[in-house]
């Protein structure tokens, strides 16, 4: 199966990434060979292989107990832009 440049463009926009034409071609080729490899794997007959998905038991989940959070300084400390304890991000609504 071939991954087209159009699909890469779509994925790039969903992931907020930008590529130039040269990169686009290279990534499309790489992605195609990855998907082809997966296609090849899917052809392997696994009908006799036992499903060995690990399932977590309910008892292994977390009790509903509150523990200390980090301080506001620690949380926003590394943010490039902050104000009064908030993170500041570029405007998201027009």
């Amino acid at each position: 199966m071939e991954i087209t440049e159009k699909e890469i463009k779509h994925l790039a926009s969903l992931s907020r990434l930008q590529f130039n034409d040269e990169e686009m071609t290279k990534i499309a080729n790489d992605m195609s060979s990855i998907v082809n490899y997966v296609d090849q794997l899917q052809k392997v007959d696994t009908s006799n292989v036992k499903d060995n998905t690990t399932i977590r038991e309910f008892e292994e989940l977390r009790e509903d107990v509150v523990k200390d959070s980090l301080s506001n300084d620690e949380i926003v400390g590394n943010a490039p832009k902050k104000l009064n304890g908030y993170f500041i991000a570029p405007t998201v609504v027009e």
Binding site: I55, E60, D64, V66, K67, S69, N72, Y86, T91
Partner: protein
Amino acid sequence: MEYDVVIGLEVHSELKTNSKVFCSCKNEFGGEPNTHCCPVCIGLPGALPIPNKEAVKMTIKAGLAVGSKINDIAIFERKNYFYPDLAKAYQISQAVRPICVGGGVEIEDANGQKKFIRLNRIHLEEDAGKLIHNPKIGGTMIDYNRGGVPLIEIVSEADMSSAEEAVAYLAKLRNILQYIEVSDCKMEQGSLRCDVNISLKPKGSSVLGVRAEMKNLNSFRSVTRAIEYEIKRQSRLLDEGEEVVQETKRCDDAINRSFSQRRKEDAQDYRYFPDPDLLPFRIERSLVEEVKKTMPKLREEKIRDYVDNLGLSEYDASVLTNDLNLVKYFDKVISYFNKPKFVCNFILTTLLKKVKEEDEADLVVPISAENFANLLSMYESGQISQAICRELFDEIWETNEDCKKLVEERGLKQNNNEDEIKVMVEALINEFPQSVADYKAGNTKALSFFIGQLMKRTQGKANAQIASKLIKDILDK
């Protein structure tokens, strides 16, 4: 042309666990920004989410309450999208194997007919952070306290066909979630909100129309408005032979308007995949049975209880049980003052009016149950008049001051002394001969006039029943 309206709802409800769904930070509304946060809920690399048992149990409980099937194995998946309300660039949610599948609730349609609204699923996910758009600083302020709060999404089938049905469905779900105590369902705080999907098709046609989705509606009114608007817009387009474009509109609480978020060309493609940080987990039958045992009485049972054991009418019991907060309040009040019918009457005639003035969805009574019980008890036993009772009720609604103390301090006790009232009544009759004439001519308003005058002179303290009887006795002679 006439169209059939097809509506489906996705209802989001925050669970009231102590801690968040995948980390141990506090689950609490509000708080100083970014103070209930840790590496897990702000999505730092390497942080490992672990599901909260209680959140899973509450989801199962919600499912059981609406007749869903509980899956024996559930899977958390990543729903990928870029928006700053989620720091990880994905939301942990469920897709192929949610905790609950199917079920449904019954509502009444416009003709009072029972209608069953089917559910597709209920899944558990994490809530996103809160964004405040601030043009002054040229940016968006982000508070991740809400990020990671457990959220269930209840997805209906597209079984509704009007705004009324959508609201009835939402009200029913809200009532159930409240009764089973998994969510506060405070719409104005966003702990209950919904997305509406709506499409139109020619009447009788089996071909589905193109749908529009309105996200993030947080009141019954906004749901009604959104649906009515969409019906108008889409039927106008279809009438003119134009195409309805699939789109998503977001009602943004921060800017209080709705705007088209995305069109089909750039429709979100969430690229769900199983979250490698979270293994599929098992839900044993024994766990489901354990949750079943904690299921409280739902509304229908409570109505039966009130009718059979307290002697309330079917109608009164039904109004009273519409909101669990009111049920709890009522139960508490009658534990202090055991006259259920009397208490219920006052609540239905006076208290609910007050609540409606203040807020449409979230019922909070600011008077303590004991204080309210005392007020009603004084009124019922004739210690205070109806007028004084109403006045005090209005006052303590604001202050919750001890009503007994107020009655003592201000000398508001009702005058039940027939001799004293008689003197005053006679004085009034002498003073207003015209009203006497009116009364004798059969004008019943004249009686109300006398009572009104009497109340004015006694600051509402005279016993109106005694006065009314005396006036009639004198004038009918």
